[in-house]
């Protein structure tokens, strides 16, 4: 039996929206054009369908389910719900049997419908369609806006319709009972909000989130909800489901909870940290009122799930299930409410990461005598990712469905997640503890451990000494070394280094002897380095500028046997250290008799001390085999040859100098040594590069930025420039290619792995941001691992490890430090080691590595790991800075803040603009609290950034309140204070204070919007406040849109509605419809001449936006305008006016309004004539459109010479005439011309229907000489009177002051008559 609910709930009275409905409403309001809020499904039915029975079932349900007739009405107190009887979804039947492919046609229509945004203030929220595809083949499609339904509600609805159908067809009693009224849900919600339970639940959730954790996700990116989402479906092997059920039995945790817990563990593998915060949909449906009401009721619980990888799995699952159960006891508290409580409103602030949805009741819908197949085509917005597990009640038929925001995930990434998560689950359900479960699939592990590291390449097993000696012997006369304008040949270089080697050998230097060198750049320095190695020893560079105690420490800890130094520096050496003076090097006799013991490939070549960010310096000892690999790779990979001229400018203490010193000598090329102080003088360097015809040079990125900023670098041409030592930003790469013609290569490597281990070609076509450090060099493996040394997935941040031939042997004499950083390589052969770089990195999908900063620069703010490199990259990408560094400062105890240091690219950068761009791109906790603009960044002697020298920002205690500067700002500050209830009043609100940061939320934003609309003309929706949340930004927006088109040459005022006059009064508004040009500004004068003052809206062509699709007909345009008008003024009587084509449109709009049962009290047609007379004329060309444009602008087109009838010519004409359209951008003007042409076409195709009211007609009495144009032509299309008023004007001048005055008099007189009579 189907009883209709009591009549009282049927009444079309306004009721509040529930919290759940409000949540959807505000989300849709942020982006009214977003169709993702459509939920939809269809059943494909095969067999003899009883269409009448289906119609009866659907009609019955339409009458029961009030939510399906929900219409939102905006009131001064916020949105309200109206059950609109006209919107109850009756079955629409569409016959597609004539289509070529009826099934494809139905699907295409469904896709189109799903992609059409629904406006809940205007459109029906639900539709039911039956597509007839052929005999015994149908598709039954239902689409419902998410504000009216949730997933469970859809199931209720479909099940009830199927049940009723079955009862009608078979005559049995229905199994289901009629739905309860939506009012019961509303009342239950209100009762709850007023209950003690509500307060207790609130406190519970606030306690859960007191430390304000930042939720991680499967991607580091954030984005707003897109207009669609991606979906991937996989079925899991049956044995996984069996093991899951077994695990459920052994742990005593129901399997849906096992899936939720393990999904959270999977999220944590990507997000890092020791917990995951996932969203758990809570149906919220059980219970007295809501159980059987199809409506939007669902809630999302933000579940913080601690991940304990070491605990026995059973135990962790039990603990987690207990925690989830605790959360469920407070499941009625809305997630949106909690977000407001926590101030997480607006932008991309999140309460939780991915949603985990377990649907254990996956049962098919059945209709008697029919085969049915369910297809779900939309389930509402997906902010990040939704992980859905489906199975039947006993855990069989386990399926995984991933839905994802395409702004955040590619389809390939999504497929990879489906595989990975499926595998993770399969391994987890049989694991002893989570720690044993790999994150990656076996195929992924192979890829990210082996394939990307497939770098095996033959390199001779030799020494650097042997490689250099070969070149010395091969071409003794070739130039080897230049310094201060003097050149040594390879022969001379051979003799001098041999002589030094012999002298050193005489003093006992041989393999594994460490010899320190403390010298500025000079012939002697280079001779010393090569001489030491030829003697078999290893060199240890010491900067002469180092403090004496540091020098002493290095000598002591390295146990260097000897120091080579100039006399001038020797005095700074500690007493008792054996010294050999470099001043005497030139006098050394050739010595062929002393035997040398050349090193072998596994002997030490050099020791370089690294300062490290903490602790005392440590010396990385590199063997010959390692540096030979590095040098041979570079020589061959970049094609170095004898014609190359390399510049040596890096201090020897910095390992970049190693290839600078020796690559020329292993190639047979020339090394040019820069004067000692030249490396920090851009102009000097540029001069050397030019004069010495340098082909290859290295820069640390900070120094490169300085170099490029100097005019001397402009136009330099080289073969290659290498960057390493610091992060190369995308902005710097791009700047480089603007200034210098050369290849640009980004290299990466620590001193502990023979200079560089990865390469990236940052050429002019590289668009990567950030610039990767790239791919491993020969015979080298790079791993990115988590804290348990498991490979991480691409995109996930991990620790960077290096393995392979280039690793240092050790930290000299520091076995403790060596053991700490050089650890067993779990992926290599027995005994292989890997080096823990202390750097954070992630894989790009293509296998390139992105560097994300030092792990020790990693900071935690609000408990969240923040990668400073990512913030720096985002700032660099604004293009406004040439250099940037972000650090976390603790200048005030307990108040750690991010500070950005900027060097402007062209003068001081606009910090506000940068902050705004960052806010758009990064989560708010990653936007620095302070920006400090510097002339240059402080650099260390090595040219590296000196972090300790960065000044503290000027952050006064208590954020300064920036007072308003303009009247608009002052007004807004007051409004903010008022709406937000700021206790200290407007003086406590600064113009940069964020509405949402001060406790504003969607409800308050709506109030603010209402208040704003009282004072300013605003076209946009609630999104305006979200996009401009501070008084300063909102003022700027308001001022810009208020200035309007007449005095601002921008495109504001091109929207579909402009408000031409505004009044607080409640006179019916006048809607003026644009003429052929699509713009409605022309009515501005008329709008202001009306008395009493009234609201006047101009409707403009949507096609002014070049991206908007062209309407198919004038009738479609008019239908659209009628809908827009009703959204601005929900009820009649309506008053319309239109000039020219606008009159034709107004006539059609009036008919649409009448169709909808509305009253039209005024249709004013201003010199508009029916379409019939143009029907047979040829379509206009562009010059006709341009002439029309001139006419629309109020000028006689014949005064414009034919030669000027071009876009440029007409623009010039309009500008010269001072017409505001002349100020339009070219793009906007193109839009206007497009509209004119298109409207001409549509007019020719339009056929009038009959308007059943009266028409007020203004005729341009001075025009139409010699034509038969007459208002009487409207006779067939107007049932009422046509009241004609002659205006002494040409058609083109009707919007001028004189004509306007005449028309206003008529309209005003009529208006008062209406008031009197009405």
């Amino acid at each position: 039996m189907t009883t209709a609910p009591a009549p009282d709930v049927r009444e079309a009275v306004l009721s509040p929206l529930t919290q759940a409905e409000l949540g959807i409403w505000y989300a849709q309001r942020i982006d009214p054009a977003n169709p993702v809020f459509n939920t939809g499904q269809y059943l494909e039915l095969r067999g003899p369908l009883d269409i009448d029975a289906l119609r009866r079932a659907i009609d019955t349900v339409a009458d029961e389910a009030d939510a399906l007739a929900l219409r939102v009405v905006e009131t001064g107190d916020g949105p309200r719900a109206l059950v609109d009887e006209r919107h109850r979804p009756r079955l629409q039947q569409v016959d597609l049997t004539a289509a070529a492919d009826p099934l494809a046609e139905a699907r295409a229509r469904i896709v189109r419908d799903m992609q059409t945004a629904v406006d809940p203030t205007r459109d029906p929220v639900a539709v039911q369609v039956l597509y007839v595809l052929g005999a015994g083949h149908h598709i039954w499609y239902q689409r419902i806006h998410h504000i009216a339904i949730d997933g469970y509600g859809t199931t209720l609805l479909t099940a009830r319709i199927c049940d009723l159908y079955a009862s009608f067809v078979t005559g049995r009693e229905p199994v289901t009972v009629p739905f309860g009224p939506r009012n019961a849900v509303v009342a239950a919600g209100q009762d709850y909000m007023a209950s003690d339970r509500f307060a207790a639940d609130r406190q519970f959730w606030l306690d859960q989130f007191t430390d304000r954790p930042e939720p991680g996700s499967l991607t580091p990116r954030v984005a707003l909800t897109s207009h669609h989402y991606l979906t991937v479906n996989v079925e899991l092997p049956a044995d996984v489901g069996e093991r899951l059920v077994a695990l459920s039995a052994s742990s005593g945790v129901v399997w849906p909870d096992v899936l939720a817990a393990l999904s959270a563990a999977y999220v944590q593998r990507h997000a890092g940290g020791d917990e995951a915060i996932v969203g758990l949909p809570a149906m919220e449906r059980l219970g007295r009122a809501a159980a059987r009401v199809p409506a939007m009721v669902m809630n999302i619980l933000p579940a913080r799930i601690a991940i304990d990888e070491d605990a026995p799995l059973d135990e962790w699952l039990t603990r987690t299930a207990r925690h989830l159960q605790r959360l469920r006891r407070h499941a009625r508290y809305r997630g949106e409410q909690l977000r407001r409580d926590l101030g997480l409103i607006g932008g991309t602030r999140r309460l939780h990461g991915p949603l985990v949805n377990v649907l254990p009741f996956d049962a098919p819908f059945e209709l008697p005598g029919l085969e049915s197949r369910l297809e779900i085509v939309g389930t509402g917005p997906v902010d990040d990712m939704t992980i859905t597990w489906r199975a039947d009640g006993s855990g069989r038929g386990l399926r995984l469905e991933l839905d994802a925001n395409p702004e955040l995930y590619s389809i390939d990434e999504l497929k990879a997640h489906a595989d990975r998560l499926g595998h993770f689950l399969a391994r987890a359900v049989e694991a002893r503890r989570l720690a044993d479960v790999p994150t990656l699939t076996p195929a992924e592990t192979t890829h990210w451990v082996r394939t990307v590291n497939d770098t095996a390449h033959p390199v001779p097993d030799t020494t650097l000494v042997a490689l250099i000696e070969r070149q010395m012997a091969r071409r003794p006369d070739a130039p080897a070394l230049r310094f201060g304008g003097v050149t040594w040949s390879y022969g001379e270089f051979d003799r001098r280094t041999r002589a030094l080697a012999a002298a050193l050998a005489r003093r006992g230097v041989g393999p594994e002897t460490i010899v320190a060198v403390m010298a500025p750049r000079s012939f002697e320095l280079v001779t010393a380095l090569v001489g030491i190695m030829r003697a078999g020893g290893a060199y240890l560079p010491i900067d002469p500028a180092y403090p004496a105690d540091r020098v002493a420490t290095m000598l002591r800890s390295s146990k260097a046997a000897l120091v080579l130094a100039f006399a001038a520096d020797a005095g700074r050496l500690p007493d008792g250290v054996p010294v050999m003076l470099l001043d005497d090097l030139q006098q050394l006799e050739a010595d062929e008799s002393t035997p040398l013991t050349p090193p072998s490939p596994d002997n030490a070549a050099y020791v370089i001390y690294t300062s490290g960010s903490t602790g005392e310096p440590k010396g990385a000892l590199i063997e010959h085999r390692a540096i030979v690999n590095r040098l041979e790779w570079m020589r061959e990979f970049y094609g170095f040859d004898e014609s190359d001229r390399l510049l040596q400018k890096t201090p020897a203490t910095f390992d970049v100098s190693v290839w600078e010193f020796f690559l020329a000598f292993t190639t047979g090329a020339l090394l040019v040594v820069a004067p000692p102080d030249a490396h920090r003088d851009p102009a000097w360097l540029a001069a050397i590069i030019r004069e010495e015809r340098i082909t290859t040079v290295h820069f640390v990125p900070s120094m490169l930025a300085v170099f490029l900023a100097d005019p001397a670098s402009a136009g330099l041409e080289l073969r290659r420039v290498f960057c390493s030592g610091e992060e190369l930003t995308a902005a710097l790469r791009d700047r480089f290619h603007e200034v210098i013609r050369a290849e640009l290569h980004n290299l990466y490597g620590p001193t502990e792995a023979a200079v560089d281990v990865t390469w990236w070609n940052a050429g002019p076509h590289d668009r990567s941001s950030p610039v990767p450090i790239g791919f491993p060099v020969w015979n080298t493996q790079m791993y990115i691992l988590d804290g348990r040394l498991r490979p991480v997935p691409p995109g996930t941040i991990g620790d960077l490890y290096i393995a392979g031939v280039q690793l240092a042997r050790e930290y000299l004499n520091r076995p403790d430090l060596t053991a700490e950083r050089f650890v067993p390589d779990p992926f290599g052969p027995a005994g292989a080691r890997m080096y823990k770089t202390g750097d954070l990195a992630r894989w790009r999908p293509d296998g390139a590595i992105e560097f994300l900063g030092r792990s020790d620069f990693q900071v935690k703010i609000r408990g969240l790991r923040i990668e400073l490199g990512e913030i720096e990259a985002a700032i660099a990408d604004t293009g406004a800075v040439s250099q940037v560094v972000v650090i976390a400062r603790d200048d005030r105890p307990g108040d750690r803040q991010l500070v950005a240091y900027l060097v402007g690219r062209n003068g001081a950068p606009d910090v506000d603009a940068i902050r705004e761009q960052l806010a758009a791109r990064l989560p708010d906790y990653m936007v620095p609290a302070a920006f400090v603009v510097l002339d240059e960044l402080p650099l260390s002697p090595n040219g590296k950034l000196l972090r300790s020298a960065l000044p503290a920002p000027d952050l006064r205690a208590g954020a300064p309140v920036r007072p308003p500067r303009t009247a608009t700002e002052a007004a807004l500050v007051e409004l903010f204070a008022d709406v937000l209830g700021v206790a200290d009043g407007p003086s406590a609100v600064g113009v940069d204070d964020d509405f949402f940061g001060m406790g504003g939320h969607s409800l308050l934003a709506a109030q603010l919007m209402t208040r704003l609309r009282e004072r300013w003309p605003i076209d946009g929706g609630l999104g305006v406040v979200f996009a401009h949340p501070t008084p300063a930004r909102l003022a700027e927006y308001l001022d810009r849109s208020q200035r309007g088109p007449a005095d601002t040459p921008d495109d504001v005022g091109l929207g579909p509605v402009i408000q031409l006059n505004r009044t607080p009064g409640d006179e019916p508004a006048l809607f003026c419809i644009h003429p052929a040009g699509g713009l409605a500004w022309c009515y501005r004068r008329l709008a202001r001449a009306l008395e009493p003052a009234r609201n006047v809206y101009g409707l403009q062509a949507r096609t002014l936006d070049p991206a908007a699709p062209a309407p198919p007909s004038l009738d479609a345009m008019a239908a659209d305008y009628a809908a827009t008008i009703r959204s601005l003024q929900p009820q009649g009587p309506y008053e319309l006016a239109g000039w020219s084509v606008g009159g034709i449109l107004a006539h059609t709009v009036a008919i649409h309004l009448r169709d909808a049962g509305e009253e039209v009290s005024l249709l004013a047609m201003i010199d508009a004539y029916p379409c019939d007379r143009w029907r047979n004329e040829p379509p206009p060309d562009e010059s006709a459109a341009l002439r029309a444009l001139v006419l629309i602008a109020g000028h006689d087109p014949s005064t414009v010479p034919a030669s000027q009838l071009t876009r440029e010519g007409v623009t010039a004409f309009l500008r010269a005439a001072g017409h505001p359209m002349g100020a339009l951008s070219d793009e906007a003007l193109s839009g206007v011309i497009r509209v004119v042409s298109h409207n001409s076409l549509l007019v020719r195709r339009h056929h009038h229907r009959v308007f059943d009211g009266d028409v007020l007609f203004f005729r341009a009495a001075l025009d139409h000489q010699g034509t038969t144009l007459s208002p009487d032509e409207w006779r067939p299309y107007v049932r009422g009177t046509i009241d004609v008023h002659d205006v002494p004007s040409l058609h083109a001048h009707l919007m001028g002051p004189e004509a306007t005055a005449v028309m206003a008099r008529v309209l005003n007189g009529r208006g008062s008559a209406v008031s009197r009579n009405g």
Binding site: T176, P178, G180, D257, M283, L286
Partner: protein, 87 residues
């Protein structure tokens, strides 16, 4: 329950029903009153489905929808023993 039909599920005593509910909600029996709204003890569809299946297996003629409509021990107990569902 003034019907003459035999009790369909004699094994589902009030004590057992209370114990089943407390177990599935991981709560103390003593904390749940017979007139409490079980939603406030964390009842959700998954747990309700599990209970429904258990009790159906014990012979009770109840459906998920019926139990969901009024989640309260007293009412459930009457349903389990052939009481009339409310709507």
């Amino acid at each position: 329950m003034s019907n003459t039909k035999p009790d369909p599920a004699p094994s589902l005593t009030l004590e057992r029903v209370r114990a089943d509910i407390a177990r599935i909600l991981q709560a103390d029996e003593a904390d749940i009153a017979d007139t409490d709204n079980l939603i406030d003890h964390g009842l959700d569809s998954i747990r309700l489905m599990a209970l429904t299946q258990e009790w159906q297996a014990a012979g009770a003629p109840v459906t998920f929808d019926q139990l969901a409509a009024w989640p309260e021990i007293n009412y459930w107990f009457s349903l389990l023993h052939g009481g009339r569902p409310i709507h």
